[in-house]
Amino acid sequence: MMKKFFAKAYIYILLLLLYAPLIFIAVCSFTEAKVLGNWTGFSTRLYANLFSNAVEGGNSLIAAIYNTLIIALVAASVSTLFGTFAAIGIHNMHGARKRAVQFMNSIPMVNPDVITGVSLFLLFIFLHFTQGYASVTLAHITFCIPYVVLSVLPKLTQMNPNIYEAALDLGATPRQAFWKVMVPELRPGMISGFILAFTMSLDDFAVTFFTRGTIGLETLSTYIYTDARKGGLTPELRPLMTIIFVIILILLLITNIRQMRAARRAAVR
């Protein structure tokens, strides 16, 4: 009984410490005080400001949010498409070639962000590629693809290898077999891959920081970074962080519940 109490207490204390800063931000998003930590009474003005574009210091925060979303959406879509085909290709490979491609695929995941960022920065310099929207998006696609591949590959291994052939056998052309049989089978993996890629892109700071060039492109993380270095966060960032936190919470719960349901269905079988 004592053991159980200590075990539970340990977990809850860790969780409390883990969430303290996030809760702190969330609480402070409901007051107007300029300095984080001061409480000047409950208010939802920061939220109102955020949504009505009335952020101090112009529209740069809104632009950053906009950029972040666009880049994440494009990067996640492209890498989902690309990564799915790549996964099918890898799945059908054998031996040394397969290992080589899988190794290449794992590099961006193992490499720290700084190395990925610096190496891509050097690439764009080397190719005389103007750094900006395009370079950041390409960089994001680069580190997102491996995660899509890794999400789709298990679906391919779980899939009955004869399914595609069964479709051909029943008269489907390779194209029909792909769309009518493979895609529905791979869809769960593609969706997790997309979500994974999307959050990775949203989250990224280091790679964006090195590949955005000098045109003044800001995403949310680089904005926060510059903002914090200037001293003190823009108060409107607090509601924004709170919203992001809630969205991620919901996304994660959805995917996990889906997974649990799928697992339960498999268990029933």
Binding site: K8, Y10, I25, I115, L233
Partner: protein
């Protein structure tokens, strides 16, 4: 398949080769050892490097110390039955580390704890703890309970079961946890700035400074050194590490 291989070759392999190329090149494109030797003769760089390694090792150690018991409790059906608790632990991984770090720093300044080495280590452990807990939890959770039962059957008490069966079998999880904590800590740059108010500089920071101030070649040389450190760690842990199946979500 071919487009994918070409894409990865251009955006993954070529850039890494470019680090190598730029590290051994001077401004005019001639081969030189200048930047590599500059690192080994520059006291500041060397001490930053040493501090980075020290912080990374300490942080990894703390994460194991705190994270292992947590993962063990979470994977133990006696103490925890809900998946929600484990989701709560991995959830912060998906929140921008910058945001979490800033919030931690602000919290410190509110309760008036001076920023320095202590706060840096706390913040690092705070940022990376979930990355340690998750892989260990994963492997403990999938571990066949009959191993422990077999050990008990052969006369091991609970303590012996833990040290002689559970811990050795969970080593692959600990190793991937070490990879997921050590690598980002040794290379991080923004986090240390916020947590120490720029008092402690880490290796990532000097790479970033050199790239930003257009001394790319030196930046590339420093990146190459970091790549070597990472290569060594990967090799060391890869020899034993088992591929952890499935993604995080």
């Amino acid at each position: 398949m071919l487009p994918y291989v070409i894409f990865m070759a251009i955006f993954v392999v070529l850039p890494l080769l470019l680090i190598l190329v730029y590290a051994f090149q001077d401004g005019e494109g001639h081969f030189t050892f200048e930047y590599i030797s500059k690192f080994f003769s520059d006291k500041d760089s060397l001490s930053t490097f040493a501090v980075s390694l020290e912080v990374a090792i300490e942080n990894t150690f703390f994460c194991i110390l705190i994270g292992y018991p947590a993962a063990w409790i979470l994977a133990n059906k006696k103490y925890n039955r809900s998946t929600v608790t484990i989701i709560l632990f991995i959830l912060p991984m998906w929140i921008n580390a910058l945001i979490r770090t800033l919030a931690t720093a602000e919290l410190f300044s509110m309760i008036e704890i001076p920023l320095g080495k202590g706060t840096l280590l706390y913040g690092m452990a705070y940022d990376y703890l979930p990355f340690m807990i998750y892989p260990i939890y994963n492997i403990l959770n999938r571990m066949d309970p009959s191993y422990a039962e077999a050990a008990e059957d052969l006369g091991a008490n609970q303590w012996q079961v833990f040290w002689k069966v559970t811990v050795p079998l969970s080593m692959p999880g600990v190793l991937s946890g070490v990879m997921m904590v050590f690598m980002p800590t040794v290379s991080t740059f923004a986090i240390s700035e916020f947590l120490t108010n720029n008092k402690i500089k880490l290796f990532g920071t000097i790479i970033q400074e050199n790239i930003n101030s257009s001394t790319w070649n030196y930046g590339a040389a420093l990146s190459l050194i970091m790549l070597i450190i990472i290569g060594i760690t990967t090799l060391l842990s890869n020899s034993k590490e088992e591929q952890t199946e499935g993604g995080l979500i």
